[in-house]
């Protein structure tokens, strides 16, 4: 792992040690966040899958019924029958929060609460198949809304998990090793300087003693 370009001083060493401490703490926190997000995600995505299967199957049924209705009614009558809907749906959208991820919360209210009152047409010119299709469709709708909310949540969570995982990996495999290496490099460099200094001092001391007492000259005399 590469060592950072930095002056090997005691001040830098302290600074790096603090950074390492922060990085370690951040790494731990992010890892916890990732694990918790993953736990929630797996639960939701399972629901998402099941709900989507249900909704797709039910919509398939609706289409089938519509197909039959269209076969027995002329398309003008069909269009006319559905042209002015009786039912009105008001969507309420709020924002919820899962582990810091903003997710939509959807709910709806229908204008008329009477279940049997969804047919916007008189029964004289329409076929019974159309009634069936419409009633199935109004049954599916709550599921469709739930699906929309769930699916968006799952997508947003997936994006957040990916982001968090990248951060965790960057800290774990890049920043933290780099800091450790650099700290090691600086402390070795400082130790080396210290040793160099010590030798130099000893040498100087020798030289000064030599000058003061003239050991060599005396040795020759003896």
């Amino acid at each position: 792992m590469a060592v950072m370009q930095i002056n090997p001083t005691r001040m830098e060493l302290t600074r790096l040690k603090n950074r390492l401490k922060t990085a370690r703490r951040g790494h731990k926190l992010l890892k916890d966040k990732r694990d918790e997000l993953m736990k929630q995600f797996l639960e939701l995505v399972k629901q998402n899958k099941e709900l989507r299967e249900t909704v797709e199957r039910m919509i398939g049924e609706v289409h089938k019924k519509f197909l039959i209705a269209r076969a027995v009614m002329s398309s003008e009558f069909l269009g006319e029958a559905l042209m002015f809907p009786k039912q009105k749906i008001a969507l309420k959208a709020e924002e919820g929060n899962i582990m810091g991820v903003e997710v939509p919360i959807l709910s709806f209210t229908t204008e008329s609460t009477d279940e049997s009152n969804v047919y916007p047409y008189g029964f004289a010119t329409t076929s019974g198949e159309l009634d069936g299709a419409i009633s199935t469709l109004s049954e599916v709708f709550p599921y469709m809304l739930k699906l929309a909310q769930l699916e968006k949540t799952v997508q947003l969570l997936a994006a957040e998990i990916e982001k968090t995982r990248r951060r965790v990996n960057a800290l774990e495999y890049v920043l933290i090793p780099q800091l450790t290496e650099t700290i090691k490099y600086i402390s070795m460099k400082l130790d080396e300087n210290e040793r160099g200094n010590l030798t130099r001092l000893m040498k100087v001391k020798d030289m000064m003693l030599e000058e003061a007492h003239n050991y060599k000259a005396r040795l020759k005399e003896e």
């Binding site: 709806f108 109004s138 699916e151 968006k152 997508q155």
Partner: protein
């Protein structure tokens, strides 16, 4: 109060009119694109779109994937499911986990 829009070919989405949703029948790609952009700019928090149409304007839909609104949900059209919705779920799993663990294929 937000509105719900349904985009797709006329035959697939006509029924939603009876529920009181706003339907927008489209015929081709350019029309679908302009309708979709229009709905996003207006107050549509939830847009259902048939898979056949969704497939054509997928890049446009992907752009809104990471915002909380609008919520775009593909639904099967009259021709049956083309697995686009399921594929999105699968992609999400792969993205988050790194491997496909829910779908055994």
């Amino acid at each position: 109060m937000y509105k719900i829009g349904v985009i797709g070919d006329k035959d697939s989405i006509l029924g939603f009119l009876a529920l009181g949703l706003n339907i927008f029948p489209v015929k081709d790609k350019t029309e679908a694109e302009s309708v979709f952009t229009k709905l996003v700019n207006e107050e549509f928090a939830l847009i259902y779109i048939t898979e056949t149409t969704a497939k054509e304007i997928l890049p446009l839909i992907q752009k809104y994937k990471e915002q909380s609104f609008p919520v775009v949900v593909p639904i099967p059209g009259i021709k049956g499911s083309e697995n686009i919705g399921m594929q999105a779920v699968r992609n999400a799993v792969e993205r988050a986990v790194g491997a496909n663990i829910l779908f055994g294929n």
